[in-house]
Symmetry: C2
Subunit: 415 residues, 2 copies
């Protein structure tokens, strides 16, 4: 039996026990996990150093090494994250609907754990802890498959966490790490219907597309974001500049950052030159359509393909549009249904934009950077769903649950 | 461009219009659809006769021909079904959550249509109308791919419905029928990410498994049901017999019918002989474990594989178990997480069964045959989900919707 099947089976057995535990029992285990991370900081850092050394030897980029790197402070922050999950409301057991039928049947729709969740992710070892804590809090077993570059760190972290679970009521087998670094172990997880109830990919576009294209297990697609900000004719110029700049440069590497700025022609005639200057001063490379390049300086020509690219970098497409309709059409064509924003003083235009744009989050006069579980007040986030089934947008704890119907009868039969 | 891509693109364009329509506008179109079906009964029956003739020439079984066959009465009932959908509450536009953030952002979580729904199904032409009406009511465009044996009927029905839509505000392109009878058109639909938002398969196990195994578009798995009824030691004998018999014979061909009866040994000692006699009188072939065959007569031996088989027929497995634990273990092993029932007078045992059994619907003292959108009071049903993502159990109109977040700002940026 392969490592993947063996560990998924162990996780499934553990899930049957874990799914029945009370919130307090699960919280107790989470507290033990947080403590154990702090107590074993030294050995986790030593394991992390192995990953970093291997990375440096392989010529890994410094930005990737930085994502991989743990420090005492980072481990403390990760442990603090687990403690915060303790404080969140447990959705499991909530009764979402009660139905009383004329024949006397009483029906309750109840929140239950999903079962076993597979998480496939890249270098960051903090995801290991974070995903584990969120899944266990909601009564789910979890099978983690992190990137091979973080294998030593992940292995040590999971050892520490499983030791902590061994002293709690949650079976240690509810937390599994796939250690096989080959592509084959991912491929195997993707086809594990009957053992995995869902797979959540977290990482770059190619990782996510591999999962979406090859999984037969249900998937929650996350991440890809080609987000637009549209500055309407009546936009307040200061607000427009603040929102657009924030959407691009506050953290360009994330999915809710803006990739394309759409500007109404009348607004562009008045403000585009100063606006592009502000972006350029902030170190943003601009690529524009013809009209943008007529109105502003230092803008490279944007190719068709640029509008379909998620840069996650200090690069921005700019396009002048003649009206709201053209902005909507552009978003329909190039948007990835993640986060879209209109800046306008026109209530009519705002209403129309919020109604017609098909995306997980649509904004009037606020930065797309707010599409985030913490910013929405969920207290946690397992990812941002860009699909329409099950969960859409930032996913808090309820996204990690399913439902079941309990039916109370007194001998009813169907006629 | 292939038929599938062309029609899916047309559906997607139509969905953008349809998704914005008011409930009254959609209901008006549904009423026109119902009227048109009645007005064109003659030509629909003529087309249906073509399918029946082709079927008879190909030696199709009489039960399949019966499922394919339309009559004036059946068409009237199908049209009446559309009228009933008019009366259902439209979930689109419902605000499910409102969040006020400390920074002044107002967030609303709103129900929206899924977009374009693909339905892949078998012979019954009533599904064509039913699925079309449910999808359109919830603001979704729909791409139908019915079985080739019903192609003439489906083609005429969709023609009639699209003519009706042409006289309404719903674009006729919101309703598409794939006419290519080859497997290739199904395969193409399964990979149509970006054009189809979800695929719902309706039909037998092999159709559903083909969709689950090959789709890259998100799927809502429906249907397969190996359902159990467990008669506990303290079960009321009359109630136990009534529920078990109903679960098996009221309609054996459907997914919520019972396939295996589990009987506590103490109950079996007192009642198994008379109980098996009742099933046999009802024409049910019994297959039992060793203990069952010791206690009752005329029971064939059940092979391991029998317990893993969805008969959908007048065949029943019977197994004597020594306690609730053994019943739970059997269900864990062979159940398909559809519908499971315990008959008991013990509240403790009932509570445990309802808590521990992992299935879409768990019953205490009522027949599993109630797992059905109409019986749950939803007024309609697009299918019964046996997966845990998005929707589980009978799916009413809300299962055909997604959500979107609308965020109202006053210039907020993230710091």
């Amino acid at each position: 039996m392969s490592e993947v099947v063996r560990k998924a089976q162990a996780a499934q057995s553990a899930a049957a026990v874990l799914g029945q535990l009370s919130t307090e029992t699960k919280n107790d285990a989470l507290r033990k996990m947080a403590k154990a991370l702090l107590a074993h900081t030294g050995s986790i850092l030593a394991a992390n150093e192995e990953d970093l050394e291997r990375g440096r030897a392989q010529g890994t980029s410094s930005s990737l090494l930085d994502r991989l790197k743990l420090t005492e402070e980072r481990i403390a922050a990760i442990a603090e994250g687990v403690t915060q999950i303790v404080d969140l409301t447990d959705p499991v057991g909530d009764v979402l609907e009660r139905i009383d039928r004329p024949n006397g049947l009483r029906i309750e729709k109840l929140r239950v754990p999903l079962g076993v969740i597979g998480i496939i992710y890249e270098a960051r070892p903090n995801v290991t802890v974070d995903a584990a804590a969120l899944c266990l809090k909601t009564g789910n077993a979890v099978v983690l498959r992190g990137g091979s570059s973080a294998l030593s760190s992940n292995r040590r972290i999971v050892e520490v966490l499983r030791e902590a679970l061994a002293g709690s009521e949650i079976p240690a087998d509810a937390l599994q790490l796939i250690e096989d670094p080959g592509r084959g172990s991912v491929d195997e997880m993707l086809k594990l219907n009957g053992l995995l109830d869902v797979i959540i990919p977290r990482g770059g576009a190619s990782l996510i597309q591999n999962v979406v294209q090859n999984a037969t297990v249900p998937v929650i697609e996350t991440g890809a974001g080609i987000c637009h900000t549209y500055l309407d004719e009546s936009a307040d110029p200061d607000m427009a500049q603040a929102i657009a700049l924030n959407a691009k440069v506050q953290r360009p590497s994330v999915c809710n950052a803006m990739e394309t700025l759409l500007v109404h022609e009348a607004f562009a005639l008045r403000h585009l030159r100063s606006l592009t200057g502000v972006f350029q001063s902030a170190g943003v490379e601009l690529r524009g359509d013809e009209r943008t390049r007529e109105l502003a300086e230092g803008v490279m020509p944007a190719a068709e393909q640029d509008f379909a690219t998620e840069y996650n970098d200090y690069i921005l497409n700019v396009k002048v549009v003649k009206d709201l309709d053209e902005a909507l059409a552009h978003i329909r064509r190039f948007g990835t249904k993640h986060s879209e924003c209109i800046v306008t003083e026109s209530q009519t235009h705002a209403d129309r934009f919020l109604r017609e744009v098909d995306a997980a989050a649509v904004y009037h006069n606020a930065s797309t950077r707010f599409t985030d579980g913490f910013e929405f007040g969920f207290g946690a986030e397992i990812g941002i769903s860009t699909q329409k089934l099950h969960a859409r947008g930032p996913m808090g704890l309820p996204a990690l649950t399913s439902t079941k119907y309990r039916i109370f009868g007194t001998g009813q039969i169907r006629t």
